[in-house]
């Protein structure tokens, strides 16, 4: 009998306790109200204490003034009155954001084997004319500093290995940003242009991109890419009030200086496009209902005065071998993109139409290009990917005589060893018009620090 009573008592106790806890939400609401009431009371107490403190400080300052002569010191008392007011004040505590310069580094070591005879122009530090070689590629330092709540400096300094295993230092990006609000963000300096989504989002840190290399269309122009990848000027971007559609605009005006190597022949002359000032206007949507989706496009225009420079010479030291100023070309680039990126899934699609119009003759040369990349992360660190790219330029094109028609798939696998190191392997097959097909195998160890 006693046991039955004991068991019943325990049952009641536990049921009551359980019931009380399931009503926790309403208890929490009551608790919040009680807390808010307590906050009000505490605020009143703080106000009283402050008033007392101020009175005490006044009294002390009067005594101090009596001891020390001169009326000029009266003004200096004010800070000593303010000092105790800020200490212990719950609305102005001592929290501060760490200031200074933040540096993030990216690096990689790569290996490439190709069956192209002769090999095409190398990048990543691979040696020209070599069918297989190692290269360090880029040492990329990303430097930022928050100046105020609304302004910051962003810089990307790239130490790039050349084909003779020396390093060039380039300031790839240097921007002073000011964010007025979500609708107006202005930047001045050197930036990667918004001629493509890829160019605006992925920079020199290869660790951040899934594949080993960039698609040809959005490759950096110094590596043979088709677009003016850099400019110095002004960039303005922001949201457009559009509700759930999430429209954004971008406008850039700047000076580019695009010098492309001849990708068919490492020893051949490079092409200095002699860009005038370029204008970019773009619009893209990031629907709130589907985070990760971005659809948009941009239009770019500038005027070119192409020159052919000796091989291996940069824009600063190019010696014109003729053609300087003899033709003027209007360059217009239209691009559209549809990308869907989540932490585990990536689907990038971009298409370009580049039109060169020779102003003296009225001839028009169209170059079409696109790439599509899809990847899916499996488990926590394996990410296979597949890419197809296409570029088709006229062999008569005054700007892209070396590109021709080239297209083909790339397949690869990325393995993230941890948050800092990734190993990638990739196979490229490139079909070329009137030229043998190329097979490349690339390996890369990309890291950040």
């Amino acid at each position: 009998m006693q046991r039955s009573l004991l068991a019943s008592g325990l049952l009641c106790f536990l049921l009551c306790r359980s019931f009380a806890q399931t009503n926790e939400p309403s208890d929490s609401a009551a608790k919040i109200n009680a807390l808010m009431q307590e906050v009000g009371e505490l605020k009143a107490q703080v106000a009283e204490l402050r008033a007392d403190q101020a009175r005490l400080a006044d009294a002390l300052s009067v005594q101090q003034n009596k001891k020390e002569t001169g009326t000029a010191q009266t003004a200096e008392v004010a800070p000593t009155q303010e000092q105790p007011r800020t200490t212990g004040n719950p609305e102005q505590p001592g929290f501060s954001v760490p200031e200074g310069i933040r540096i993030q580094g990216f690096g990689e070591a790569s290996y490439k084997a190709t069956d192209a005879r002769p090999p095409e122009t190398a990048f990543f530090g691979f040696r020209h004319s070599a069918n297989n070689s190692f290269g360090v590629g880029d040492l990329d330092l990303f430097v930022t500093s928050q100046l105020t709540d609304k302004s910051m400096v962003l810089s990307e300094i790239d130490f790039r290995e050349t084909t003779d295993q020396n390093f060039d230092v380039n300031v790839e990006r240097l921007l002073l940003n000011y964010n007025f609000n979500d609708y107006l963000k202005a930047s001045v300096g050197r930036f990667h242009t918004a001629t493509s989504f890829y160019n605006a989002v992925f920079h020199h840190g290869d660790w951040l991109q899934t594949a080993i290399d960039r698609p040809l269309a959005v490759q950096f122009s110094s590596d043979g890419g088709l677009l003016p990848s850099q400019a110095v000027g002004v960039s303005v971007t922001g949201k457009v009030p559009s509700g759930g559609l999430g429209l954004n605009y971008i406008f850039e005006y700047g000076t580019s200086d695009t010098v492309r190597p001849n990708i068919l022949s490492p020893e051949g002359p490079s092409i200095d496009e002699g860009n005038g000032n370029g204008t970019i206007a773009g619009l893209f949507a990031k629907p709130l209902a589907l985070p990760g989706l971005r659809i948009g496009g941009s239009f770019y225009h500038d005027d070119l005065s192409p020159r052919v420079s000796s091989a291996g010479e940069g824009s600063g030291s190019s010696q014109d071998r003729g053609g300087d100023g003899t033709i003027h070309i209007g360059q217009s680039i239209g691009s559209v993109h549809a990308v869907y990126v989540t932490p585990r899934f990536e689907f990038l699609n971009e298409a370009f139409l580049i039109r060169h119009t020779v102003q003296e003759t009225g001839e028009k040369f169209n170059t079409a290009a696109f790439y599509s990349l899809i990847s899916q992360k499996f488990r926590s660190n394996w990410r296979p990917y597949f890419r197809y790219q296409y570029a088709n330029a006229s062999t008569e094109s005054p700007i892209f005589p070396d590109v021709g028609l080239r297209h083909g798939p790339s397949a690869g696998l990325r393995y993230d060893y941890n948050d800092y190191v990734a190993f990638k392997m990739q196979y490229n097959r490139t079909f070329r018009r009137q030229l043998p097909t190329i097979n490349d195998v690339m390996l890369q160890l990309a890291f950040r620090f």
């Binding site: 046991r3 039955s4 068991a7 325990l10 049952l11 536990l14 359980s18 806890q21 399931t22 926790e24 939400p25 208890d27 929490s28 609401a29 608790k31 919040i32 807390l35 906050v39 505490l42 605020k43 719950p90 609305e91 102005q92 505590p93 001592g94 929290f95 501060s96 933040r102 993030q104 990303f142 930022t144 928050q146 709540d149 609304k150 910051m152 962003l154 990006r173 921007l175 964010n179 007025f180 609000n181 979500d182 930047s187 930036f191 605006a200 989002v201 992925f202 920079h203 840190g205 951040l208 759930g244 990031k286 709130l288 985070p291 932490p343 585990r344 926590s380 993230d416 948050d419 950040r448």
Partner: protein
């Protein structure tokens, strides 16, 4: 002896129920979204909250810069942020923010602090501050805002 065994089984079962109920009750205290009292915002949608902690919304409607503050890994508020708001794992969150700042889309990733006391201090100090704080750790000097029209502790509130 048989009756004793029955009572013992019943007792063990009830004890288990009690423990489970206690644990469930602790989970239900909720995580509140708090802002600085000078911020005129009193309610926020889940979508806006995601945009803020994903760096896509960087200023309040009053042009005040948003200053998101997050707890360090393993904290309950961090788990709510990652699982319920951003739907990311810890490495994915780090990778996301690295990409976001590197592309220049966001000036800096949310400031990470090690305690709710520090979160409170940061929200009090920054007019644009916003943080997730366990209801039981709330103190004076911050303002609780509604999420999708619900206050913490009421049925329908999303962050329990």
């Amino acid at each position: 002896m048989k009756r004793y065994r029955t009572y013992l089984t019943a007792f063990a079962g009830l004890l288990l129920c009690g423990v489970v109920a206690t644990m469930a009750a602790q989970q239900e205290t909720g995580v509140a979204v708090v802002v600085n009292p000078e911020n005129p915002v009193s309610s926020i949608s889940s979508a806006d909250l995601r945009q803020i902690f994903a760096g896509d919304k960087q200023s309040w409607s009053s042009n005040l810069p948003v200053f998101p503050i997050v707890r360090a890994p393993e904290a309950r508020e961090r788990q709510v942020l990652l699982k319920q708001i951003l739907k990311m794992t810890e490495p994915e969150y780090k990778h996301y923010w690295l990409q976001k700042t590197y592309s220049g889309e966001a000036p800096q990733q949310p400031v990470t602090v090690f305690s709710n006391g520090m979160q409170l201090e940061a929200v009090r100090a920054k007019k644009g501050g916003i943080a997730l704080i366990n209801v039981e750790d709330l103190r004076a000097g911050v303002k609780i805002i509604k999420v999708d029209g619900y206050t913490p502790g009421t049925p329908g509130y999303p962050f329990k």
